[in-house]
């Protein structure tokens, strides 16, 4: 399990985290997100393994970069392109709650491919990839607030 951001050792009990992961495995959960006062733990399995834990206030600035800090990221790879958010709003992976996601890891996209929807001021904006290649990673979660320039997807432009 990868660790990013925060002083995990200082704030949280490793035993508690281990127990949480055990619980996730027992009940076949892929993600848990717990908050208490200004503390938060979020653990996600599968695809990009990631453990985020931090005081809630630190989520804002670093939230944009926390996914990038995961060890699997090779952002400076010349064949890796990032699809970045052109606006401030809420990210949605699918056109509607019960519809399938626009894209998933492994899909091929072209510059005009709609990769997601970002809702801003009650308007749903379809976001084109603007690059061609194979989707390597989805860097944000459905319903997550995103800022201008925030990386949303990683695309391998060789494929």
């Amino acid at each position: 399990m990868a660790s990013s951001g925060g002083n995990a050792g200082d704030i949280f009990d490793v035993k508690k985290i281990r127990r949480l992961v055990e619980l996730m495995n027992e009940h076949e959960l892929s993600e848990i997100d717990l908050r208490q006062a200004d503390q938060r733990i979020r653990i996600r399995k599968g695809g990009e393994p990631m453990v985020t834990m931090a005081p809630v206030r630190a989520q804002a600035g670093p939230a944009a970069s926390a996914p990038e800090a995961a060890p699997a990221a090779k952002v400076d790879d010349q064949f890796t392109a990032l699809v970045k958010s052109p606006m401030v709003g809420t990210f949605y992976a699918a056109p509607s709650p019960d519809a399938p996601a626009f894209i998933k890891v492994g899909d091929h996209v072209g510059p005009q491919s709609i990769v997601c929807v970002i809702e801003a001021m009650k308007v749903f904006n379809e976001i084109p990839a603007e690059v061609a290649g194979q989707v390597m990673a989805v860097l944000v979660e459905n319903g997550e607030p995103v800022e201008f320039g925030q990386p949303l997807f990683k695309v391998d432009t060789r494929k």
Partner: protein
């Protein structure tokens, strides 16, 4: 009271607003452009969102992104600061339609006072003296002569489509007026595509004196006395002070009361500043209203002890002002110097670059409001002000001495600043005697 506010600005005023919110127990959402990413003051906010690239029109002035940040940040109100969207009535309206409070006047009051003609009309109706001038555009020479004789020479021929001091000609007598009319029309036609002109009385050696106004949503409109901002260069304020030197108590009171009358007549709420010019005889004339908090608001804060930013927030949230006019007392003397990243030796060209060393002054009655720090890169994308140095002392003489002392302590290296110019101005006899008008810097050529 609000739980959360979005600060729709950057730099020192964003820091100022965040500070006030922290003291009031209000959470803050800050916004930043790519150029301001990593700025230390952003860490004082509870959340911060990037709203665009460095260019102001693509970030801090981009209404949809600012509003989106407000929505995802879950705020109840937005403080616009000064500049950027602070006097944008459309933005104000958008906030309202999104159920977010705009910390400032209503869009209607803002529009009313934003239009110079309407503002002047409201002023005249409220018996606030305005600069004498032609009622509208001048159609022919005969009319120009008539008006000029009515208001008295010297007169200023101004281009209706002009701005920034362009398309203006001073005429001292009939003959000069004939020539000035022709020249102004031709110049205006060439520069703005519109040769329309009007006349205004030319106030010689004017002083710029403004009155701070505060109005709540319960009908209480008060003034917090005046600020003299006559020390200007090319219409940009350099030094502001209070009380205005050489203004009789009678004039001071009349001006401040006029400002309150105007505020009431315009249905104004929240903070605003009423600007006047004062001629050498002590007559004052209304110029315009700045429907926002101003850069130099700390001068008034030091004089009256009133935290204007907190007052703005409280008023916007519906609280009545906790004082009446008689409770507002001005004490001592305060001076503010705007520290700009400009090179006086190169005609005050902006001097962007990295600040390699910064040491702020301190001591009794010294306040330094700045977002700058060692390592800060002064960006060419925004205005060049990097900080405000304010002093407050029991007398004006002591305030000047204190400011000189504080300016000598202030160390900013890596960029050129206006600090040497401030020291020259404050050491000048004319300043000590309070004999400054808006032409002073240009006339004396100080700083160059």
């Amino acid at each position: 009271m609000y739980k959360r506010i979005l600060v729709a600005n950057r730099g020192e005023i964003a820091l100022r607003i965040i500070r006030a919110c922290r003291e009031l127990g209000i959470e803050t959402v800050a916004i930043f452009s790519d150029a301001d990413r990593g700025a230390p003051y952003l860490e004082l906010a509870d959340e911060a969102y990037c709203v665009g690239p460095a260019k102001g029109s693509e970030s801090y002035r981009k209404i949809d992104r600012v509003i989106s940040a407000a929505e995802i940040g879950n705020v109840q109100a937005i403080h616009p600061g000064y500049g950027f969207l602070s006097e944008n009535a459309h933005f104000n309206e958008v906030c309202r339609s999104c159920n977010i409070d705009f910390i400032g006047p209503t869009p209607e009051a803002m529009t009313r006072l934003g239009d110079k003609n309407t503002a002047r009309r409201i002023a005249r109706e409220a018996k606030v003296p305005t600069v004498p001038g032609s009622e509208g555009l001048i159609d022919n020479e005969a009319e120009a002569m008539r008006v000029a004789h009515e208001i008295g020479f010297p007169v200023l021929v101004k281009a209706s489509a002009g701005g920034g001091g362009r398309g203006m000609r001073v005429a001292l007598n009939d003959l000069a007026l004939k020539m000035a009319l022709q020249q102004a029309r031709t110049e205006a036609e060439a520069a703005f595509g519109d040769g329309s002109i009007y006349l205004e009385k030319y106030v010689e050696h004017p002083r710029h004196v403004e009155v701070q106004m505060l109005a709540d949503h319960h009908g209480n409109v008060v003034h917090l006395w005046e600020r003299d901002c006559s020390t200007q260069r090319r219409h940009q304020k350099l030094i502001e002070e209070s009380p205005s030197p050489r203004l009789s108590q009678q004039t001071r009171e009349a001006m401040c009361e006029a400002a309150v009358r105007l505020g009431k007549a315009a249905g104004y709420t929240n903070a605003g500043t009423v600007e006047f010019i004062v001629d050498q005889q002590g007559n004052f004339y209304f110029i315009e209203v700045n429907a926002r908090i101003q850069v130099e608001h700390p001068v008034t804060e030091m004089m009256t002890g009133v935290d204007l930013i907190k007052a703005q927030i409280r008023v916007a949230s519906g609280e009545p002002l906790p004082f009446k006019q008689k409770d507002i007392k001005a004490q001592g003397a305060a001076i503010e110097c705007r520290i700009n990243a400009e090179d006086p030796k190169k005609n005050f060209q902006p001097s962007p670059g990295k600040i390699t060393r910064l040491m702020a002054p301190g001591g009794f009655g010294v306040r330094f409001d700045s977002h700058a720090y060692p390592g800060y890169v002064v960006s060419p994308h925004y205005d060049s002000m990097i900080g405000k140095l304010i002093v407050h002392q029991p007398t004006r003489t002591e305030a000047i001495e204190c400011m000189l002392r504080a300016l000598a302590e202030l160390r900013i290296e890596g960029i050129k600043t206006t600090v040497p110019l401030h020291r020259e101005i404050l050491g000048h006899a004319a300043f000590a005697e309070g004999r400054i008008d808006t032409t002073f810097i240009e006339r004396t050529g100080l700083g160059q």
